[in-house]
Symmetry: C2
Subunit: 169 residues, 2 copies
């Protein structure tokens, strides 16, 4: 019974892995890179400098910090658009929950997503030069969600090289 149980668990786990793979997925999904763009979570991103915090109301109800690599920080500070190739932003989001210790203060709860934007003007020429990746627990979300990234950035911040965040001085 125990062996059968383990076997059944293994089969279910395997089935789960295959179910999670989007139809038409290529190699990208097998190595934790995003569909469409092949963007990965960069090593060491958690140590990057803060560009700015933000708060998203409504059903998101999130606190966020947007971090950047050296190019992202320098270009954001100097406001010298466009961002050079190699620029990478990392947006970290958590549920916004009340502090248990101080009334009126809100702090990060459960982590929700990590979102990455990478500039490569040739590779991503059809999306303003930017590749996108949206990750939950280190795994990329599905292709459908990645199809919405550029449309939104194009609609709202095309004139800021498709980047929402400004440096918080």
């Amino acid at each position: 019974m125990k062996t059968a149980g383990i076997l059944a668990s293994a089969l279910l786990a395997t089935a789960g892995i295959y179910t999670a793979l989007p139809f038409g997925a290529g190699l990208a999904e097998s190595d934790n890179s995003s569909p469409i763009f092949g963007v990965r979570i960069p090593d060491g991103y958690r140590q990057w400098e803060v560009i700015a915090p933000s708060h998203e109301e409504g059903s998101f109800n999130e606190l966020r910090v947007i971090l950047g690599n050296g190019m992202a920080v320098k270009t954001s500070r100097d406001t010298t658009l466009p961002f050079p190739d190699g620029t990478t932003f990392a947006k970290l989001a958590w549920k916004r929950v009340p502090s248990n210790e101080f009334s009126g203060a809100f702090v990060p709860g459960q982590a929700t997503t990590v979102q990455i934007m990478v500039k490569d003007s040739r590779r991503y020429a059809s999306t303003g030069g930017w590749g996108f990746g949206r990750f939950i627990d280190g795994k990329p979300v599905d292709r459908a969600q990645h199809e919405t990234c550029f449309a939104c950035h194009e609609a709202y911040v095309k004139d800021h090289d498709y980047v929402f965040t400004r440096f918080a001085y």
Copy 2:
């Protein structure tokens, strides 16, 4: 009338400046270190790693990020209290304003304060081992405001070595 008004404004402004100076202020104020504690804004603090963002409601209406030096980050990550001597936190605050570009999102507006906590268990033995500094435009605020720092940290987070912020994983 106009000249009189300008003169009156100038006098009021001058009076305001003198009122803001704490009685008994020593050398501390002349070198941008905080009253009572002698804490300065550390070089390079803006590049420190994020411990967590936060949001303060009400009259503050602020978005904040709490950054830390290496000791602050490591001890916060590992939750190995107490924090060692040399631990330094920097809390950066901005007014929380609606994004001009995305409905429901809030971003940093005008910077308000930078607040520093430094652990030195001997120098600051009477305040739980912590020295405090609260700065506006790089200048420390008055003595009266600095007298409130420890009382609040002691009242709410004595059991967390007087530190509110937890590492946002």
